[in-house]
Symmetry: C2
Amino acid sequence: MMKLQVPGFVAGAVAAGLKKGGDKDLGMILSEVPACAAGVFTTNQVQAAPVLLDKKKIKSGRCQAIVANSGNANACTGKRGIEDAEAVARAAAIALGIPEELVLVASTGVIGQSLNVSAIEAAMPELARQLNPTGLHDIAQAIMTTDTFPKTVTKQGSIGDKTFTVAAVAKGAGMILPNMATMLCFICTDIAAEPDLLGQSLKDAVAESFNAITVDGETSTNDTVLLLANGLSGQNIEDAGCAEAFQRILNDILFTLALQIVQDGEGATKLVSIHVKGASSKADAKRVAYTVANSPLVKTALFGEDANWGRIMAAVGRAGVPVNPERIDIYFDDVCMVKDGQGCGRQAEEAATKALKTDRFTISIDLMMGTKGSTVHTCDLSPDYVRINANYRS
Amino acid sequence: MMKLQVPGFVAGAVAAGLKKGGDKDLGMILSEVPACAAGVFTTNQVQAAPVLLDKKKIKSGRCQAIVANSGNANACTGKRGIEDAEAVARAAAIALGIPEELVLVASTGVIGQSLNVSAIEAAMPELARQLNPTGLHDIAQAIMTTDTFPKTVTKQGSIGDKTFTVAAVAKGAGMILPNMATMLCFICTDIAAEPDLLGQSLKDAVAESFNAITVDGETSTNDTVLLLANGLSGQNIEDAGCAEAFQRILNDILFTLALQIVQDGEGATKLVSIHVKGASSKADAKRVAYTVANSPLVKTALFGEDANWGRIMAAVGRAGVPVNPERIDIYFDDVCMVKDGQGCGRQAEEAATKALKTDRFTISIDLMMGTKGSTVHTCDLSPDYVRINANYRS
């Protein structure tokens, strides 16, 4: 893998004491110059203070630094929560010597507890000193909660003799049915772009990545995706061929991170793509795919490596989309398990079980009602999901 | 508890070899005389053969016997499934010497496998011999799948000097978010009633019982509630005061069974009522209540006895109903945990944790948006739910 480095960006992380155990919990990304910025945020009506603050600030289309903490979501914290988020941005601005309005903030962790702002303020000068060109790895670690590995991707593109770079970090693990955005994801690029174009590009990339995954059907209060473009590559998204090249790379990066989030879903042992086709509309296809992808009985069967297609049929039937049960076909990878709504017998089940025993496979469902399709990526439901979440705060 | 006995009804059960381990798996209820009948069935579009058959037969408003098996749902079994369900009804009719059109059937168990009809036919004469006035206990056992206890209730009512009796058996355990009906429930009464009135009475009782519970958000392919009224008490539902007395008892019985189903939800350790009030409409209240009641993160916190109210706020915020997060109040029994969208502090949390450590409590959520309310009853999500369902077919 290439180095996680984008010209003109530095990053870093420290342990500010917000997480138990002394792990890194406060990270920062800084662009040498003010960057063009776009963001996508949670659709949950209960929105954390940093989300509310960023949504206001990002209207300017400009940002130079992002500060993110784990260990505390700063959600359901009222006016004090907003003041705390502002204080964090202010402390970062002072340490970096940049205007406060160019600092965005993000938080993840427990909901409903006040942020330990003085710990963050105390750690800020050291955090500013830590910033370095390869520091994106560190911030990827600092935003982990129940994630088991840091999530990062870098890619380069070129138009003519000029290259540009896009790098991103993300965290996921639980509360994952993003709707317009997921969890925390920060993307840096040295391309130049106006905020509107950048925002559209981000939305398009999110639609087929973070908005096509689920771990547990939950939408977080803190979901935030931020994209900073500092223009230092000399390439502008409006240059000939550049928008397409950039979009391809951005889609690719966000899709890779989205799959990493599902793969690292709390307690997950399998990454399963649910592909619905033959639907009357894309919305119908997505609704059926999400109903199957979030079905506890389907997910426990996946964990048990049991080709229990009856549960898939039952989930399809309750998705709220008109279907004809007697025409539905279901495949596990390329094995036909269900034809015209009925099982294909023991041999098919044995072949499907082989696919089930791998850690990544696709379940295809053909509704035979039309020509539209959609794919959602999910994981299985294991006793570890319950264990992790029964004890999350203790 | 009074004896599970209704004048004019006999019941019984045998082990026909459909369930592993030789447990009772085939049960029957017979009325001495043809009874008036009403039914409520699953809203899942994927409907099992016995559901399809009963929906057709019950249009006559008459039924004399119900045959039910566990171990196999006879769902997703195509034309052969319908023929098999008809064969079961025929075998029962022959053994009982009654017309085939007066026999209803019900199945529960694995989806997608053909029913072993010859085993059922072979067991039928013995089953007919077993029928006796206290046999409802036996059929309650015979329809159990992952249920840990048989579910039965009996009550008597009286108008003037005449009494009437209502008794019911049910099974639940998993795939429980009934929508118009739940799992299997058979109700016998010696009251007299025309099918239309009986059907309305059943619908009303189901609305606030089986349609107000959830274990896992799944709606089964086989949900069936059947009510037989044989009229032998000499009381008619149209007699003065009788409709109200009957409705009160029917509501009470179905509500008791519904709570038993949640209490015996797969892996459940707690029965939790989610009461949403202050909503703009009853539909809004119910949607919020169901979103909280089905949230895996709320349910795992309940299992962990963690008063993690932030997850309740997050679930309310993604329910798809307009809310004002800054006005929401949340109570655990009578402890105020959240006031105006913010936590009430450590003391409140400690008090709430005491409620959480009991096996039955209420979470009340006041949206402060209006005057409508709704209550949904749910259970916690434990590692045992996953274990039971990962290995269900093996």
